[in-house]
């Protein structure tokens, strides 16, 4: 177990290093510079500004300074907002994380339940429903889903009911979180429910389920004790990628629903050519995703002892 953990940890650190390096050098290769449009800053003032942001040193020195700062959690000062990037992130990320976690909980719990019901009652209306949701989930991009939700469940439903059941803008109350979490989670829900259904069907065909039936266990007990515990394994493996897709989905969902999260900052900083903000957000998101994958991997090795043998 220790060897497995160390190996996973080593990969995570290496991946993060590659990501930071990539981000840094890509940022340097960008066309334009942050002071290009500013005609008031010239000569000595420009030199001072460059010195302030460390842009006057050789690139390789800048890289190592940057790497050191990243390790210490200092992602620099945003050029457009003139604020510490880490401060902006820690402020805005709370909102994004809130949204992401809601979407994840919705996707995982509803997905597992739907997949379970679809497998147990194979060929029933539930099975068709899960098939339908899975089809929608894989074929409609989340931002289009968000806009469709706004139109049908927001505007049209308000016309129908006379009051707004689901507000379509902003962030804060519980009612405002419903539509964005649904829109964000639907794609992952589809993946989770399909996978759960397949692996449930797999397990239900095993001999030990027949044995359990033969010795007279009730259907509920068979499903809870023997089926779900085994069937849930493959679902755990895709939790890492699911977290990734939900987090990148927040970028667009936030701008559609006008939610003041980190995704909105990221998209805006791309347009503003805000070097430090882009690299800061990238490194932060990358690190977060690598951490999530690491946790899922370790968790998986912990729950399923067979994995460790291969590590």
């Amino acid at each position: 177990m220790l060897k497995y953990t160390l190996k996973r940890l080593g990969y995570a650190v290496l991946t993060l290093l590659v990501l930071i390096t990539l981000t840094f050098f890509m940022m340097r290769m960008l066309p334009g510079d942050p002071f290009l449009g500013d005609k008031t800053v010239t000569g000595a003032a420009l030199e001072n500004m460059k010195a302030k942001y460390g842009l006057d040193k050789p690139v390789i020195v800048q890289y190592f300074i940057y790497l050191g700062n990243c390790v210490r959690g200092d992602l620099g000062t945003s050029i457009t907002y003139n604020k510490d990037v880490m401060d902006i992130i820690s402020e805005a990320f709370l909102v994004s994380a809130d949204l992401g976690i809601r979407a994840l909980i919705f996707a995982v719990i509803a997905g597992i339940l739907l997949g379970m019901v679809a497998a147990v009652k194979r060929g029933s209306a539930w099975d068709s429903l899960s098939m339908f949701i899975a089809m929608i989930g894989v074929s409609v991009p989340s931002f289009i889903m968000g806009a469709l939700f706004q139109y049908f469940l927001g505007l049209q439903l308000r016309k129908l009911l006379g009051f707004a059941l689901f507000p379509i803008q902003g962030w804060g109350d519980f009612s405002k979180t419903i539509l964005p979490s649904f829109a964000l989670g639907l794609g992952s829900l589809a993946t989770v429910s399909r996978l759960m259904r397949t692996s449930m069907l797999d397990v239900l065909n095993q001999d030990y389920i027949k044995t359990a039936k033969a010795k007279g266990l009730s259907q509920t007990k068979i499903i809870i004790r023997h089926t779900v515990r085994n069937a849930i394994m493959p679902v755990l493996t895709i939790l890492g990628p699911t977290v990734a897709s939900v987090l990148t989905g927040t970028f667009v969902i936030e701008s559609i629903f006008n939610i003041p999260g980190l995704g909105k900052y990221f998209v805006m900083s791309i347009k503003d050519l805000d070097y430090t903000m882009i690299s800061g957000t990238t490194v932060f998101y990358g690190a977060l995703l690598i951490l999530c994958t690491l946790v899922v991997d370790l968790l998986y090795g912990f729950i399923d002892p067979r994995v460790k043998l291969e590590g």
Partner: protein, 317 residues
């Protein structure tokens, strides 16, 4: 019981040709798979939808009376099936089948122009993924040992970085355009393919026909290209079909973030993005590109599933 005498039977001699004849036409693996695929109604319908989409994207902008950049200020945001009374179209009975957008451009020709861009991006990047992935996976799987370990470690590290972040970073450095999106997507899109091919090759290379080829002195490049890759082809084709929707999704996503194809070009993603801005008043401007994106992604997904069933009936559920 009646006695049946020998004289009632006649010996007509041996017919070696007939005895050894194969009663049914022989089918290659691919023919057999195609037969199963055609039997699968859902996959067939999806295939037809895709062919129609591709034909419409190629043909519609050619026969449509409006250019996709042509603006008709007289009727902006026109509803579907509006008869055009502007410029040279006045009295000619030209119809804006899908209506017009905020700048009075004909949605019908825009949607199919967008289809050209989106489908080209998706299909070309799938083909590039195929070559890169098959090459990398084939080499890594065949040589094994240290080569395999090093190549797989590199892959694992690249795979750990969320691909949309890399694509966004790349899109910012390179000059915007269709080629850029293809390059950016292909640079990360080949990884699942490489893994898949490697897995297949590792399993295949222990089989006797490979030992036979080695014993006959075939070079590794010949073994990989002639013997190993054709045997992985069915899995690879399924994977290509399933990677196209993800390329379409990435293009749409990038357009939404503002890193899509540059103006005046349009793609399904940029049309959907423009549609989202005013769908509360003119929902059809979002609905049409959204339906195109979703239908195409769905059709490719279902076709891919159908192909997997056809190539490997054991997997069927």
């Amino acid at each position: 019981m009646e006695h049946i005498g020998r004289e009632r039977f006649e010996y007509i001699g041996e017919n070696a040709k007939e005895r050894e004849a194969i009663s049914r036409p022989s089918l290659t693996f691919m023919q057999d798979a195609m037969r199963r695929l055609v039997k699968n109604k859902v996959a067939l319908v999806c295939g037809v939808i895709l062919v129609l989409m591709i034909i419409a994207s190629i043909a519609a902008p050619m026969i449509c009376p409006f250019d996709f950049r042509e603006q008709h200020y007289g009727h902006t945001n026109a509803p579907m099936m509006t008869v055009c009374d502007q410029q040279d179209s006045a009295g000619a009975g030209h119809v804006h089948i899908f209506g017009t957008d905020t700048l009075g451009r004909d949605m019908f020709s825009r949607v199919w122009m967008g289809g050209r861009v989106s489908l080209t991006i998706a299909i070309v990047s799938a083909i590039i993924d195929f070559f890169l992935g098959v090459l990398y996976g084939g080499i890594s799987g065949y040589f094994g040992g240290t080569t395999d370990i090093i190549m797989m470690r590199i892959l694992e590290i690249i795979n750990g970085i969320p691909y949309l972040i890399i694509v966004i970073l790349l899109m910012m450095i390179l000059t915007p355009g269709m080629g850029t999106i293809i390059v950016a997507y292909s640079l990360v899109g080949w990884i699942p393919m490489a893994r898949l091919v490697r897995g297949q090759v590792v399993a295949l290379k222990e089989q006797e026909f490979i030992s036979a080829a080695e014993a006959l002195g075939a070079k590794p490049s010949r073994i990989i290209i002639k013997h190993l890759l054709p045997n992985t082809l069915s899995v690879v084709i399924v994977r290509i079909t399933l990677s196209i929707p993800s390329a379409i999704f990435s293009e749409a996503y990038l357009s939404y973030v503002g890193l899509g194809v540059p103006l005046p070009m349009c793609s399904w993603g940029s049309l959907a993005q423009a549609g989202i801005e005013n769908f509360r008043v003119y929902p059809s401007q979002l609905m049409i590109p959204a339906i195109c994106i979703s239908l195409t992604m769905l059709a490719f997904n279902m076709l891919g599933d159908g192909m997997r069933d056809a190539f490997d009936p054991k997997l069927r559920r």
